[in-house]
């Protein structure tokens, strides 16, 4: 019988669930952040591997000017009001802007040749424009397609795992 502590069991991770139009930033390396039902929405993950602090934001729409009152109540619903809060929260827990790694998942698209329903694409364009204005680049992404995704961030490593009904887990 192996001594106590030598059992080869995976340690159950504490899962912190992020809803739609929500954000969590955390520096507990024993935890993971998870968000479900990511269709045309975007999950934006920011991680500093030195401080082991990470944040996950689940935004739904590109631009808060369509409903400023809602943006006051739910700033994480929109790219333009949610993303700055995500970065500030990561920095407030010791994250460094020169170290943070940015990963983006989601942006599924309906088949709409007119583009009116292509909220996923508008979300992505809004995000890339905002990041470019602040000299940030996306390090890895899994964008578009037709599938709804579940995204997990391992706070010990910053690794993102992605799952959809059509696939097993894959990593970013």
């Amino acid at each position: 019988m192996p001594p106590i502590g030598k059992w080869d069991f995976p340690v159950p991770r504490k899962a912190i669930v992020i809803g739609v139009a929500d954000m969590v930033v955390c520096n507990d390396p024993a935890a993971e952040l998870v968000t479900y039902s990511l269709g045309s929405c975007l999950a934006i993950a920011v991680y500093d591997s030195v401080k082991k602090v990470g944040g996950l934001l689940h935004v739904m729409l590109p631009d808060s000017t369509i409903d400023p009152d809602r943006a006051q109540l739910a700033p994480y619903m929109f790219v333009d009001t949610g993303v700055p809060r995500l970065f500030h929260a990561v920095y407030s827990l010791g994250g460094d802007r020169n170290r943070v790694v940015i990963k983006v998942v989601g942006g599924a698209q309906l088949l709409d040749p007119q583009g009116i329903f292509n909220i996923g694409e508008r979300n992505y364009r809004s995000l890339t424009g905002l990041l470019a204005r602040h000299d940030h680049k996306i390090h890895a992404q899994d964008i578009g397609g037709f599938a709804s995704r579940t995204v997990r961030m391992d706070l010990a490593t910053g690794i993102i795992s992605i799952k959809s009904p059509a696939t097993g887990a894959y990593f970013l």
């Binding site: 739904m60 698209q109 309906l110 007119q114 583009g115 009116i116 909220i119 599938a147 009904p165 059509a166």
Partner: protein, 282 residues
């Protein structure tokens, strides 16, 4: 395989009470007496119990306990009672998992109910379409009911073939037709027709992926838009669930712009959360 063959040969048709079907047939009739509704509902003790439980839940928040069907009808009104009974009745059929579609338990019910509330809102906000909001709600609730039957004939081979078509940017409904010879819309419409549901509901379910827009948009157009909005608001179960072809005429016919659509998505997201509360109601 035709829709008719599938419906007549299916082994596990969704179980629905006689009361639910009689109530669905009352939709669209202007003259509905209180006692007529109460009598139909009271014949089904399960629905009566579930309805009273729903009425006494925090979702409605009545100050006094609701103890009888008469009281429930007076407090909620005909439309709400009809919607609630249909929701509770079809809920058990729609809440099963559909592994052939990659849909887990309760996911189709969540999507159907979110679509129902959205369709009702669209009908209410577009009086020019002359669509009864209560009927629009039912169309949304039942739009994917054909999947309950079609998934029974899906095999690993046909699932792979459908997903291969989708990867060529063919919509999931068109891929079903190409691989199986029929899609879930046609099967659902055939099933509802066999239950003698009103023709307007059968039309909406049959055409919810190819809506009728002329001379004025029919209920299928409202259902089509509501379905797309529910997917965009996060209620999007199944494999490649965004492989839906948006009809190019629907934006013009219903006066949609990107901004208007995004505002609607916010409202539908709120519906989706109400649905979640309803489904987890104790």
């Amino acid at each position: 395989m035709t829709a008719h063959e599938l419906v007549t040969q299916a082994e596990n048709l969704p179980l629905l009470s006689h009361a639910a079907l009689r109530l669905a047939n009352l939709l669209g009739h202007d003259t509905r007496a209180n006692h007529e509704l109460v009598e139909i509902i009271r014949c089904d003790s399960l629905i009566t119990a579930r309805l009273l439980r729903a009425c006494n839940s925090p979702l409605f928040g009545f100050a006094q306990p609701v103890e009888s069907m008469d009281q429930a009808v007076l407090l909620l009104g005909h439309q709400k009672i009809l919607q609630l009974v249909l929701t509770l009745s079809f809920g058990s059929a729609l809440s099963c998992a559909l592994p052939g579609y990659g849909v887990e338990a309760n996911e189709l019910w969540h999507h159907s109910l979110t679509t129902a509330m959205t369709a009702e809102m669209i009908a209410r906000n577009h009086p020019d379409l002359d669509a009864d909001p209560s009927t629009a709600f039912t169309c949304g609730l039942l739009h994917d009911i054909g999947k309950l039957l079609l998934h029974q004939v899906l095999t690993p081979e046909t699932q792979s073939a459908i997903r291969a078509k989708i990867s060529e940017r063919i919509s999931s409904a068109d891929a079903e037709t190409l691989v199986l010879g029929v899609d879930h819309s046609a099967v659902g419409a055939c099933l509802l027709g066999s239950w003698n549901l009103p023709g307007s509901i059968v039309e909406a379910v049959a055409n919810h992926h190819q809506p009728v827009l002329n001379p004025i948009p029919k209920l299928s157009a409202i259902t089509h838009l509501a379905d797309c909005l529910a997917h965009l608001a996060g209620s999007s179960p199944g494999w490649e669930s965004f492989a839906i072809h948006v009809d190019p005429g629907v934006s013009g016919a219903l006066g949609l712009s990107p901004e208007k659509l995004e505002r609607m998505v916010i409202g539908v997201r709120d519906f989706s959360e109400v649905v979640q509360q309803f489904m987890t109601m104790k």
